[in-house]
Amino acid sequence: MLRQDIKRMLTKNWMDNKKLLSAIMITPAILYILIMVGLPLILAIFYSFSDATTGSSDFKFIGLQNFRDILEDPIFRKSLMNTFIFTFSSQIIVLILSNILAMVLAANYRGKWIVRFLILLPWTAPISLGTIGWLWMLDSIFSPFDWILRYMGLLGTQNALLGNMSNMYWLGEPVYAMASVILVHIWRILPLSTVILMAGLSSIPHDLMEAASIDGAGFFRTFFKIKIPLLIPIMSISLLFGFVFTFTDMTVVYVLTRGGPIHSTQVLSSWAFLKGIEAGDLAHGAAIALFLLPLLACVVILILKLARRTEVT
């Protein structure tokens, strides 16, 4: 058997050798991923049990000390909490809005492509640049929202509903700052979620919808009894991706608030960045970032299960 294999290898031209060719073709990709993703992942775990810093190259293992440190750190706890708040609240709202938006956009009309392009802008344009637009819109003095509120008499006069100051300081007040971060996350993920849903909607067989309308089902009935159940797998996939992108993102927070005011919008990834990269404390940074891992693992398992299920149908 083996001898035959070797003989085959030698007698066949290498350009025809299936095993050899596939080995040559797949190895670079796997090596790259192992070295640049697998290895760092292991290193991250490694660092989290050590006292490594950017400054020196030698370090020793200190067990769970880093984790104890960060768990006692109120900023870490705040970040963990914020990460969840930002992710869940934005994703729930995205779920509702994307369903409405997908329906609105599903209709056929002229100039659909331009509407689609405009709706997609927040996802297709680089996020750090889009967020700068928001930064200027949420400016402490020149925010157009404040201008509207003042114009409507809700702000900036004696006895005004929102106070007599001339500005809301959107990014200066902890609650408003959090709301702003959530808003920008919604703004960013909504288009992605919507196009995924639209793709799902268009893959529902047309005769199914016709059958439903022949059976006398009205708009809401078809929507809740046919569309929603058929869309659940795809909705879950879009939700999971939205979840991953929001959960692990730090761009919005970094550009808008840098975690402020006083860490009230700090999230795990931005805190890991500030600690691990800006402050050079690799060990604590790695430990903070590692908290992302178990949740991501759950998400990945869910995605896999869903992918398997949709494959069957």
């Binding site: 003989k7 085959r8 007698t11 066949k12 031209n13 025809d16």
Partner: protein, 343 residues
């Protein structure tokens, strides 16, 4: 042109043996049909001959050389796939010239050859079209023209007619056979359709579950099936098989007729036939029913095919005496299913 020999060839995918110790000898210029139900290993065998599939054990010889370890391009074979596998991004002309270009033939010669092949199959007018602009029948012609253009040693066809509609299939069959006769290239043709096999092949190799059950001329395979599988696979409806004593009795529906149609002197076997269903197919009628043996109490389901011309009145729910000539009876072993010599 070359002869093809398949010697003790087996193929396994993991634990599953899809081709099991097959031996076939195909003479130069012969038209061999590999016939069998889907999943019987016929396509795998063809792909091994083509070099698309490794051979687990055994040897394949083409033109007096072992080709086990040679790549498809070194075997100088042509193949027509079930899907025709036309290159979608190339015009018909480019499709047909592709094998020649790979041989680095000069441009003039290529053009000449492509035009010759196109002329042979009546597709000269289609040369500038893309495959997606062609009908099913035209695609099939292009595929065959592409296969033939470089005069291969062996011509392999994998169910090339199964994507055509019934009417087209009959004329394509005729054309294919005439063409093969003309060029005389050794041809191996895979099909699950016994009508195609009967009509096309010089020889038929009937396969099932990876094994070759019988190799013979269409007549031999039809009249003298080597075992019960071949008997029940060939013919529509197939041979009636009923267990009697220690053997299986086989007879073709067209040989099972009312007793008064036969001459009793020739030696006949009579059976009481209780008719349950009757089908008039125009030229023929099919009569379904049960026969009973003296020796056993159980009833056996059998079919009779009568020519409508014979004009016999048969009603369902009645019992008639039917008979078979002794010489048309076949006997098979109960255990192995192999043919036994007549008593």
């Amino acid at each position: 042109m070359a002869q093809v020999e398949i010697r003790n060839v087996s193929k396994s995918f993991g634990d599953v043996k899809v081709v099991d110790n097959v031996n076939i000898f195909i003479k130069e210029g012969e038209f061999l049909v590999l016939l069998g139900p889907s999943g019987c290993g016929k396509t795998t065998l063809l792909r091994m001959i083509a070099g698309l599939e490794d051979i687990t054990s055994g040897e394949i010889w083409i033109g007096g050389k072992v080709v086990n370890n040679t790549s498809p391009k070194e075997r100088n074979i042509a193949m027509v796939f079930q899907s025709y596998a036309l290159y979608p991004h190339m015009s018909v002309f480019e499709n047909i010239q592709f094998p020649l270009k790979n041989q680095r033939m000069n441009k003039e010669k290529i053009r000449e050859k492509v035009e010759w092949a196109a002329g042979m199959f009546g597709i000269e007018k289609l040369l500038n079209r893309k495959p997606r602009q062609l009908s099913g029948g035209e695609r099939q012609r292009v595929a065959i023209a592409r296969a033939m253009v470089r005069s291969p040693n062996v011509f392999l066809l994998d169910e090339p007619l199964s994507n055509l509609d019934a009417k087209l299939r009959a004329s394509a069959r005729e054309e294919l056979q005439q063409f093969q006769e003309k060029v005389g290239i050794t041809t191996i043709y895979v099909t699950h359709d016994q009508i195609e096999a009967m009509g096309l092949g010089d020889h038929i190799a009937v396969m099932s579950k990876g094994k070759v059950h019988q190799i013979g001329t269409p007549k031999e395979v039809y009249n003298n099936p080597a075992d019960t599988f071949v008997a029940s696979f060939m013919g529509s409806p197939p041979m009636n098989l009923i267990e009697k004593d220690d053997s299986i009795l086989g007879f073709r529906p067209e040989n099972f007729v009312p007793i008064d149609m036969l001459n009793a002197d020739e030696g006949i076997e009579t059976l009481e036939f209780f008719v349950t269903w009757f089908e008039d197919l125009g030229s023929d009628s099919l009569v379904y029913g049960n026969v009973k043996f003296q020796s056993s109490s159980s009833q056996k389901h059998v079919v009779s095919r009568l020519q409508s011309r014979a004009n016999i009145k048969i009603e369902k729910g009645k019992t008639y005496t039917f008979a078979i000539k002794r010489q048309d009876l076949r006997f098979f072993d109960v255990k192995t299913g192999y043919k036994k010599n007549a008593h």
